[in-house]
């Protein structure tokens, strides 16, 4: 008897479900970054706003990569609904703390998918995920460095203004 499920799709049911969860997570992240950009814009942190607009675009690109992969491999990519986006933040610092938490959760989620793929011997998807592992290295580094500016520069006096100005210069160049 032919394996109709395998002939139809490269992805196992559980891996496909995890990838669809990741699509949803990336879409959520993109919307949260957009909310952060909006908060920074209306509180006078122009450079940080630009940083988060770019992050929002990156997250959407990640979502599309997952989406296209599921679709290309014969699975059903589910267009995600996103709600519960926080629009307000207590402080400038909290925005960056939330950004780092988002990235940590994303790394954990991608690791979980890879764990499942190894368990199911789905090395094709593992290879696909390798790009994201590398990307998360950069994302976490940038988010952590941005937050560290609050300690290095300090928030007193013109500190927040200086932190905002320093945000665009944070990048991960040690490839």
């Amino acid at each position: 008897m032919k394996d109709l499920m395998r002939l139809r799709s490269l992805l196992g049911t559980e891996v496909e479900a995890l990838l669809n969860n990741q699509i949803k997570m990336e879409a959520y992240n993109s919307s949260v970054y957009l909310a952060m950009a909006s908060w920074c814009d209306r509180n006078g942190f122009d450079y940080s706003a630009d940083h988060f607009y770019k992050q929002a675009e990156d997250e959407r690109e990640h979502m599309l990569r997952f989406f296209k992969y599921v679709s290309d491999m014969g699975g059903t990519a589910v267009s995600p609904s996103v709600d519960g986006i926080p629009q307000e933040f207590e402080s400038f610092r909290e925005v960056f703390e939330s950004a780092l938490e988002l990235e940590v959760k994303t790394t954990q989620a991608i690791n979980n998918i890879a764990d499942k793929c190894y368990k199911e011997k789905d090395h094709v998807t593992v290879e696909f995920l390798n790009w994201f592992h590398k990307e998360q290295r950069e994302e976490e580094y940038v988010a952590r460095r941005c937050l560290e500016l609050f300690e290095v520069i300090g928030e007193e006096g013109t500190g927040r203004w200086e932190i905002d100005k320093a945000i665009p210069s944070v990048s991960y160049g040690n490839e």
Partner: protein, 127 residues
Amino acid sequence: MSRMCKKVAPAITESYQEVFRTKSGCIYQSDVEKSLLVEFANKIARFDIRCLQRLKNAVFSINLAEMATDTSRTTDVEIISLCACEHCYVLTLREIINFRELLAGAFVMFELNSIIQERIYSIPVYA
């Protein structure tokens, strides 16, 4: 002028092999037609594997506890219809339980078949 179109139920021909059977129904697979037949609730319906997966998801997403405890008449039956799928089921609580058993069993058999196929083709052949 409207034309009446009479649907003919798919026949279980020789190309169909039994995948899983319970007292309430049976699921067959045809390698030739690359389709599946579901014999349940007094009808035979043809599905492709993706549609059957969606049917399973729909049947398993029904809240049976709510259906059992709600006293309104509307919850006596559940209508299961899938988008882009010509079949529709109207099932009672007992039928849903039976349908779940049939679908879950069939998918376990599909998984088992996948494992067997993988083992067959992953064994190295030495001349």
